[in-house]
């Protein structure tokens, strides 16, 4: 729940001058713990050229004071590689889902001069401030067995050959960094948030969450990963299991073809191409199953 905010202040800020800024005003939608109320916090830091949202958050952490001089705890956020490879720093920046590391302040200022708004993703439960729980994202990858199973560590000899054409086709799908942007943008993917019951053990809570996730939409990323591994010479030996998941509860039938996913993917993965292929594969699969009965 968001408490009402004083909008007159926001409007005045937006009318500020567009010449080189001396400071960066940041408003962050904070939340102290799961299930708590969210609230806006405002910070002001000196402008430096070539900043990205990561460095903005770093300055805010070092400052540990809100814009009116009160001491506050630093804003919590996830990040690691800072190069769009780990997929950790996804958040809503000026209303659009993107990676904090590649969001440059100078570019953001062309959208709204002098001010940046940061919010956590809305499709995953908030853990604290900008940190969210992406367990459902990884559960979806488990549901479609998004890997090539290896039985052991013995030497199986050289792997199967893959043609350059197959490689060029598969490689873009392999660049997925599990950031969650596509799920944030997808209108069919809605937040599932469970509260821990009194005295509930970790394992029981986790099982309950997974049960809830398994009933709902897999998400665009999982459909694409299923297609990646169904196209792999060894991975395709498990294609049947992946097709079961893709046509089961929460499967591809839930995709509404909004095409938001491909528009926001930071790696520019052709998600809708994967989804189209998955759709065709699902049709073939359904017919095959019908005749195999």
């Amino acid at each position: 729940m968001i408490r009402a905010v004083d909008t007159s202040e926001l409007v005045a800020d937006q009318q500020a001058e567009a010449s080189p800024p001396r400071e960066i005003r940041v408003r962050v939608l904070r939340q102290d713990a799961p299930g708590e109320e969210s609230y806006w916090a405002r910070f002001t830091i000196p402008y430096e050229p070539n900043m990205n949202v990561i460095s903005v958050l770093q300055r805010i952490a070092a400052l540990a004071k809100s814009h009116d001089g009160r001491r506050v705890a630093p804003v919590a956020w996830d990040c690691s590689c800072l190069e769009e490879v780990c997929g950790s720093c996804t958040m809503l920046i000026n209303g659009r889902v993107r990676m904090a590391c590649s969001s440059l302040v100078d570019n953001l200022f062309t959208e709204s001069p002098g001010e940046i708004e940061l919010r956590p993703m809305t499709k995953f439960p908030v853990v604290r401030d900008l940190c969210v729980d992406r367990g459902r994202l990884f559960r979806s990858l488990e549901r479609v067995k998004a890997w090539v199973p290896v039985d052991d560590s013995y030497d199986h000899g050289p792997g199967p050959r893959i043609s350059p054409e197959e490689q060029e086709d598969a490689y873009p799908l392999a660049t997925c960094i599990s950031c969650g942007c596509c799920m944030e943008a997808c209108p069919q993917f809605n937040k599932i948030e469970l509260s821990r019951r009194e005295g509930e053990a970790d394992e029981a809570f986790e099982a309950r969450k997974q049960e809830a996730y398994d009933k709902q939409f897999l998400g665009p990323h999982a459909i694409s990963q299923a297609m990646l591994f169904n196209g792999h010479p060894t991975g395709k030996m498990n294609a049947d299991e992946r097709m079961e998941s893709l046509t089961g509860q929460g499967g591809i039938q839930m995709c509404g073809n909004a095409q938001n996913c491909v528009a926001v993917c930071p790696k520019r993965i052709p998600l809708t191409r994967s989804i189209a292929r998955a759709g065709r594969a699902a049709t073939v699969w359904a017919i095959k199953k019908f005749f195999d009965r």
Partner: protein
Amino acid sequence: MKFRAFPADAVILASGGCGLLYGRSTMSMICTGSAVSRAYQAGVKYANAEFIQVHPTAVPGADKLRLMSESARGEGGRVWVPRTPQDPRDPKDIPAADRYYFLEERYPQYGNLVPRDIATREIFDICTTDGLSVEKDRLCVYLDLTHIPRETLDRKLGGILEIYEKFQGVDPRDTPMKIFPAVHYSMGGLWVDYEKSASGGLVEGSPRNQQTNVPGLYAIGECDYQYHGANRLGANSLLSCIFSGLFCASGVIAGAARGGKEQGRLFTAAVKRQEDRHQAILSRPAGGDSNPYDIHGRLGDIMTRVATVVRRNDQLSQAYDEVCRLEDLWRHCSLSDTGNWTNQNVVFTKSLGDMFPIAKLILKGALLRDECRGAHYKPDFAMPGIEATDPAEQRAEAERWCDRFEANTRKWLKSTIGSHGADGHPVITYEDVDTSLLPPRPRLYGLVGGDVIEDVWRERQAMAAEPAAVGAAS
């Protein structure tokens, strides 16, 4: 936040490098060296700390430095700085006469394609010693591709140029890139063992492989000290990661099969210790002057200034004292978040505390090692080339050079072994390196008179091999 113990038959550390000690590097935010520091503080030996690789071309950013591939120079990129320090003009408006193409002028034969460590040292010197950095606050030089046709750039360097544009917001086809050397890899790390076979190789499946001096504790990948010695070759971090991982596994299984005693009490006590420490840190008085982020910034500045490309004993010694002072400050720095839920502030504070022992290892190791070897460069102890022009004199100088090289090898071709002293200072000893399979030889790249030295060296090797050949023949 909870503390949990995970009792195990064996523990394998694969926690990567320690680039965060340097503030900004090419490493990820999780590369704090905290895990290996804890091991070191608990009695595990840490070796070759002073060997830190600095990559010549990285793109400085507000949050880190991002690697810029050397292929940019390979395709004709030119490195330069304005002759006027911090010339305020747009680089495109600076005429050629006002540009210092320092690599081309200082190394006419190799130009911009000098070897990595030479490029790193020159760029570093230009900015720190000569004060010619493009920007005052952020050290950097220009890597210019704007003279190369767009079609060529798109075809050959499209990928890396895209990275520059994405994170810097400017098109390197139109504007020269700003680059600077960056801390990139730590060759040193936890000392690990291996079992040597009769032929000098590795005994596969031995529990000693990749094991530290603590039985059952293993280290692999960048956090161990193996494979690269004083200088890692390109793409070889992949080698050490794959090799050490592969050959650690069979040994761990064999070692764990031997079994051990159940030590439940040890783990309960350890958890309690960490909980108490955690509470003590959270209970520090609030509102102090120093915060962990400031202290970290200052540590990074010191380490980058004295313990990267060029090392000087007076600077290293001074830095050691400063690092000790910073560690004191850290002991009393206040937290801005004393809560117990997703508290990134206290986690960062703890990992900062773990940086000081490693920093001291690096500084002390560098201070004691009076020579140049691989990434460790001390100009005061560099072996200069041949100055004479007369062939006989050149020959004599080369002989002396080889003598000095052999003496230096006997003294310094050893691994630096660091142990955590009770007073918090590292105790440094040295361990011989096994060169029985491949005898060491001089690295003469670019050295004046290197060809004469090479001749002398080859003759010496041939003479050394002769007695054995004569014996075999008769």
